[in-house]
């Protein structure tokens, strides 16, 4: 599945900014599968992932009048919102000492099954190698890293990896 067209999303956010609820529905159709996939992988809780997917889009609706191209592409804005909400959910869960899939290292099967290596972004991440890919994902998804591949990634390795990924994205 291809990523939604950025210009289309920009138009939808601009329509949302003037209160167009139809645009919200269209944005949901385009953005929610990506946000939902990210939150499912982050939280490993279907109910919470679906709830926070809706909250992410509601947050976009609420802030649409403030949105500007400066904030970045709408899809990335959605992902940033989703991560913020997901991190909050995880913190609450950890603070309450609730055990669950989100507090454990994800299985390799789950990690590989969720990925789409043929996509443009998947290909750019693949250039970093398996360990690099795992470190970046662990950072975004705020989950413990798999001990067999990565043990406490040092901050000095994260920076170069993110820069390499950025270069691979631009080059791709």
């Amino acid at each position: 599945m291809k990523l939604p067209d950025n210009d289309t999303l920009v138009t939808l956010v601009e329509r949302m900014a003037i209160g167009d609820a139809d645009a919200l529905g269209e944005l949901w159709d385009q953005v929610s599968p990506w946000v939902h996939a990210a939150l499912l992988r982050m939280l490993r809780d279907e109910q919470a992932a679906e709830l926070l997917t809706r909250r992410t889009v509601v947050e976009m609706w609420r802030l649409a009048p403030m949105w500007d191209h400066h904030v970045g592409r709408p899809l990335l804005w959605a992902m940033a919102n989703a991560r913020s909400l997901g991190s909050q959910w995880l913190s609450e869960r950890r603070r309450g000492h609730q055990e669950g899939p989100a507090t454990a290292v994800p299985s390799k099967e789950l990690v590989l099954d969720a990925r789409e290596p043929a996509s443009q972004i998947g290909a750019a991440l693949a250039t970093l190698g398996e360990v690099g890919h795992d470190i970046l994902e662990a950072a975004w998804f705020s989950h413990p890293v798999a001990p067999e591949t990565v043990r406490n990634p040092a901050p000095e390795s994260f920076g170069p990896l993110l820069r390499d990924f950025n270069r691979a994205l631009i080059g791709g």
Binding site: W34, R54, R62, H70, G72, S87, F158, L162, L169
Partner: protein, 261 residues
Amino acid sequence: MDRCRDLKALFPSYAAETASRSDQLRIQLHLGDGCAACAVELERLMEAFHAIPLSLKPVPTTAGSRDKLIDEVQQTSQEPLDVPVLYPETDTNRLWKVLVGLSAIAVIAVAFWGRSQTEEVTRLQSEVERTGMMGTVDTRSLERQVLELRTTLRTTANPRAQLIDLSGNGRAARLFLDPAGGVATLSAEPFGELPDGKLHHIWLVEGTDARLLGRLPPGFSQRGGQLRFQLLGEPKENVVAIITLDPSSELPNAPGQVVLK
């Protein structure tokens, strides 16, 4: 340049929201100085960071989720754009004066940036502790500040925006008309206690035609502050504003006792 080089090493952790508060502050101060090269690099890293989960296969939500979303949105009001209140002159040198005024504001803003950031850190810290979001600081507040500043510049740079001064009975008020945004902002001192059964109303007067802009809530009349009204249509250049005292029983058709003009 040395400062750029030192700070660039911190950009990835800033993008991933794992930078320490002091590092975040150093970066924000540097960006506040207007370093465009660093701003662009940081923005790219932030975009790259949030592109990471887009390598996953998309997963549709359940069928009913879209309907639930519409219900939730109906209970959510959108964030209004704050209308800035600035006081440009309305003479032939207005553009220059506005530019000089905005430059002065920018200089003062930079001077106070450090202090306000310290307060912001304190506020964020208490917010983080309250919400339990330790380690996940929201970097969008900086972007939002930039957006608000841009909005301010856009609105005040609009040559059709007008400022009207009102005074009377030792009181003063100012009305900022933004026809492009369709908003009128009234900034006023307290008018004092209201007589029983009366409320203040604000009118736009063009020639002999008086148009009711809105009714002032009792709390506003007593305490002053800022109030926004919807501005329908573009006012003429010679428009004046008056504030009147009228019976509260119903909306007046014509201005009553003028208290400020």
